[in-house]
Symmetry: C2
Subunit: 701 residues, 2 copies
């Protein structure tokens, strides 16, 4: 397969994904929606989400503008040292990355805020049509994200033929994702926590009670956090995995003298998207009406298709089988991480049940239990990622034995393991975006008085969304782990090629020795970063939630008839949306800037060796904390649901109250801090790679 053909094939498949997304959108749009009350509430959600997105994008545009100017001046090398054409190209690549990412997020919100009401109304006809509305609405996002990612990478590579520019594109995607995920995460959890604290805990009213002023904001949050934010996050991971594979792939291509490894990257990524398209098209609920099964079965179809089609392609086009197996190892580990996550968050297993039992002795034991199981849950995933990197390395290394380039090939193997793991990301995003849509539908059904039966159906759909979400989150973290390991490889490749191309006097970097004090220095500081980053986000949620709780209290006290639920009295939902929006946009800045600035400081203090250690420390502690927070959050959520379903005292008992405390603590863990760490790791890795030449030239020690 020629490189041109691979790129064109990738572009073709991404256009196919867009076409399919268009068809899905039209399908969702033509579903019934006649209920005026639901329509009006859904319009509130829609306009709230769009307002947030617009304000967020304005801030991000300013940020991106500043960064673009810095790139123009300094990257890939200071403009007075290098080639200004390269700097301009890099700037354009960077801006394209931000635009593609923003575009995908916008589409996701656009469709999700239509699909929610369709799903709610379809639930009146039964669970199967309702499921399909929710799933296909989410799938638009899945297709748009992966389509944009593949299209963007292919175009940038086609135009520039320079993998370093893909790093620029990827950095654009990442820097947008960093703020979109963090901002959306703060928004959604501010609203969720405040709504719960006042509604469920203080007043004892139902989840989506229309009297609660924060309920609309909570539903807006589902969209901006779990649809747009999550989409930006996985867009970022997908682009980053391709970027790392292309940087290292180009280096090994130079060794073998043709472009076969670059070709492989595009071929595999395109096949992954194709498999996702087929998987999504075949998602349908069986007669028994089990939505979890329906979601999982389409994932299995996608996985099996990817395994088979890449094998076929490898056979036909004579790709390296060793790389194929490295890629499949990545996919396998994704499954292991998913299963492990499932054990710790499944309500038929010990962790969730023991935590529910511990709640009988009050909220303190709920928290201790959840934290403990969260800590335990990191082991299988970390061991899985460790083994997969190790095995992918060992499988791929022999390809370089003849030429003495084992390390380069081994790193390429790891990067292809990441590509393999992320190959089915289109399917994963579809499943993920399904969650907030049915969650919204549940809210609409309750606020629109569609009746108990309809709410029960949306509840069942929602619960399946939560189960699947826990698993896909594990997948996303595992993928980020492997991606960043390969970004570390990309970093070395970049530094060394800079040394050679620019004729610098520094010795080539062979690796990062822990006993080198600069590396160890970076290792310790890098490990602290995800903790601090999470802390800043969660403190933001806390501060913001305090403001919103005060506002809800004010409304209940000053609006006559609101608490009593008097006919026609509506809460001032827009006030809550405004607080969530402004707070989120204000609070996301310190966390994002902290991560960026400390990377740059460490680079200037300790040079490339410190940065190598910094990245390693960041990956290790980032994986640890992301897994811990996502899993304990999911566990508390399900443990609360387990109690609500009648165990250990059931709804309204003291046990239930304790379980609700756990759930509330888990909210920012699993939906703000935990998943944002992924993005933080990627951003930091990309900054390091992009600034490698600068750090090489200027550093204190």
């Amino acid at each position: 397969m020629s490189l041109l053909f691979a790129i064109l094939f990738s572009i073709f498949i991404s256009l196919l994904a867009f076409g399919f997304a268009g068809w899905l959108y039209l399908w969702v749009k033509k579903q019934d929606s006649s209920n005026p009350k639901i329509h009006s509430i859904s319009e509130l959600i829609r306009s709230g989400a769009n307002t947030f997105l617009r304000k967020e994008y304005i801030i991000l545009a300013k940020f991106a503008g500043v960064v673009a100017i810095l790139i123009l001046l300094f990257l890939p090398a200071p403009i007075w040292h290098g080639n200004w054409v390269e700097n301009v190209t890099m700037t354009i690549a960077y801006l394209s990355g931000t635009v593609f990412s923003a575009f995908a997020g916008k589409i996701g919100i656009f469709v999700a805020t239509i699909a929610n009401k369709k799903t709610a109304e379809a639930a009146q006809k039964g669970i199967r049509p309702s499921f399909l509305s929710g799933f296909r609405g989410g799938a638009v996002m899945g297709m748009a994200v992966v389509g944009s990612s593949l299209l963007g990478v292919a175009l940038v590579f086609y135009i520039t033929n320079n993998p370093t520019m893909i790093l620029g594109f990827s950095f654009g995607a990442s820097s947008l994702a960093l703020f979109a995920k963090a901002g959306g995460g703060i928004f959604t959890k501010t609203a969720d926590i405040s709504a719960d604290l006042v509604g469920k805990v203080e007043l004892g009213i139902a989840e989506d009670d229309p009297r609660n002023p924060a309920v609309i904001a909570d539903n807006v949050g589902d969209n901006v956090g779990d649809v747009a934010g999550m989409g930006a996050d996985l867009f970022d991971s997908h682009v980053a995995s391709m970027a790392a594979a292309l940087v290292i792939g180009s280096a090994v291509d130079m060794i073998v003298g043709d472009s076969r490894f670059t070709v492989m990257v595009f071929a595999y990524a395109a096949i992954g998207l194709l498999a996702s398209i087929i998987g999504v098209a075949n998602a349908r609920m069986g007669k028994k009406g089990n939505p979890t099964k329906a979601l999982n079965s389409s994932t299995y179809i996608t996985t099996a298709l990817f395994t088979a089609l890449t094998a076929l392609a490898t056979w036909i086009f004579n790709f390296e089988w060793r790389i194929y197996f490295a890629s499949i190892v990545g996919l396998l580990v994704g499954v292991i991480v998913g299963i492990a996550t499932d054990y710790f968050t499944d309500d038929s297993k010990k962790p969730v049940q023991n935590t529910a039992r511990a709640s009988e002795s009050g909220p303190a034991l709920t928290i201790i239990s959840g934290v403990s199981y969260g800590f335990l849950s990191v082991l299988p995933a970390m061991v899985g990622i460790a083994f997969s990197a190790f095995i992918a390395y060992k499988i791929a290394a022999p390809l370089g034995t003849a030429t003495g380039n084992e390390v380069e090939f081994a790193l390429f193997g790891i990067s292809m393991a990441a590509v393999g793991m992320l190959s089915i990301v289109g399917m994963i995003i579809s499943n993920d975006a399904y969650g907030p849509i049915v969650d919204n539908a549940r809210g609409l059904a309750e606020m629109g008085n569609l009746g108990e039966e309809v709410i029960a159906i949306t509840d069942a759909l929602d619960s399946a969304g939560n189960t699947v979400k826990a698993v896909t989150k594990g997948f996303a973290i595992g993928a980020a782990g492997l991606t960043v390991i390969s970004l570390l490889g990309a970093f070395i490749t970049e530094v060394n090629s800079a040394i050679i191309e620019r004729g610098l006097s520094d010795p080539l970097i062979q690796g990062f020795d822990i006993m080198n004090p600069a590396v160890f220095f970076g290792l310790l500081i890098g490990a602290a970063v995800p903790a601090v980053f999470s802390a800043l986000l969660m403190l933001g949620v806390n501060r913001n939630a305090e403001r919103m709780v005060a506002e809800i209290h004010r409304q209940f006290e000053t609006i006559p008839g609101l608490k009593e639920g008097k006919e026609g009295v509506m809460p001032e939902s827009d006030k809550c949306i405004e607080i969530a929006t402004n707070g989120a946009l204000k609070e996301l800045i310190p966390a994002g800037l902290f991560a960026i600035i400390i990377t740059i400081v460490v680079g200037f203090v300790g040079g490339v060796y410190a940065i190598g250690g910094f990245l390693a420390g960041n990956i290790v502690s980032g994986l640890l904390l992301a897994l811990f927070m996502s899993n304990s959050g999911g566990l508390w959520d399900n443990s609360k649901k387990y109690v609500e379903s009648g165990h250990n005292g059931g709804k309204g008992s003291e046990t239930h109250k304790a379980a609700v405390v756990g759930d509330t603590v888990g909210d920012p863990f699993k939906d703000t801090a935990g998943p944002s760490i992924n993005t933080q790791i990627t951003v930091v890795s990309l900054i390091a790679s992009l600034l490698s030449v600068i750090f090489l030239m200027y550093h204190i020690f």
Copy 2:
């Protein structure tokens, strides 16, 4: 200074410490204690503590017996490969380590359980005599621990003249500490949590209300956890820091051809103990009666004395000034870590106050806030340790420039930074052991009806203990961090000398490259270990607390008149002590074994490179989690006290209830898991060093 003189000097100073401890003990013993009620309660505590200690030591003796047999067979090399005399010596060194550690713990408990009642009764005369009883009681422990440590190391070195045997001695100390800290930590927090959950939260009775069956167990717990367990922990750190410095020091001595660096290790350690003796002797409360100031001022005296006396010794005996400065850097970082910790746990600073304010919105925000600040708090300490290791390395490296041994000297510099940081450990233990003694005294004053005024005095003493404890805990963690970094250096030294001495064909280890897949593999798994270890301990506390809460409920329900406080009706405290004891001894096994076994498995799977990565991952994530848990625990504790002192609603308010939840969650964080991680890291490092030859010979990949 000759080596013999340095060793004899060390032995002399440790005997001096024992003599001083004896004098302190006699002083404490001759203080008044005439109140029969206090005497009888104090006897209950004393016998409870001794029962626990006896049962614990029986289990540990069995464990040590098994390990001793394994050492005899396999260490330093399999007996059929090596020299049986070495194996016998190593076995004896190991057993001596366990015996010395157990002995120090036993002395500590012995004196603490006398000093508690003396302190309580002295409070009737005023705060100054009461302070002195508490402090001098704690100082016995401080002197005994450091005296035993220095004496043991000096004797083993004198007899064997082989630093590897010090590793064996250190391993004995560590393996005892691992279980003593974990077991004591589980005991104390089981009792504390259960007493609080039923007493404060459910029934709303005071902290040390004599009706509560768990109160005596809680006071026993202070002794077995915070006196014996903490003593074992710091004994372990002190021995380990000397062991690492002696291993690396011997290697650099070989380079220079005399024993001047080994001499320095002994001289500095002995001077540290001497400075602590003088500091303790001068601890006295000023006229204003501020106990925190009194504790801190004696620490300052010790620190200043150490700085001055080592400078003097360096000048007189012509030691290397570069090593002197490396050592002082360590001490300085200890201070920085201490100050940073103080900021996050001081109730006049934002973190504690914001957490108290967050508690107004319920326990969920208390937890989120505390976790967030706990995460933030890791940054200054990690950066401090990173810089100190970096600077110590850079200061010491030039000593090896002439002979091309920069790395060896640099590592010696780091190990001496750890020795410097731990030089004042005698003082730190004295301050630390003071805490549980005055805590006990407070309980005795309340249970013995000594009146409000006396309780207020013990409260003031207790509060100072908490403040100082938070700082010294930061110190201990920082010290463990530096120690383990130097143990990593000791590990390399051990492996390389084994390769040379035994004529193995393996290439010498230059370092651990993160890009080596075995190193990275180890790094990821090593990072997961402290999380899993903590989880197992905390789950143990949870399970045990559930059992004890059930028992307390049973007593309140079945013992007539207990709840009402009828004259003469006593709870069955011994039942609670029994539950705490048996539970702790049962639950400490899985955590300890997990840490030991996974190290061995990784070594056999990936060889010495995987172990190198494993140790690095373990240090990094261990520091992170230990700092996080200790600091957030301290923060919650003080935030609760802040509310109790009348802020944000004060005692009995909803805010207070939420703050109590935070405090309860913080209990196992700061007193079970957090500080046990130190020991876990040291044990794992020592196992790695001791088994290095075995891992070199037998590994799968």
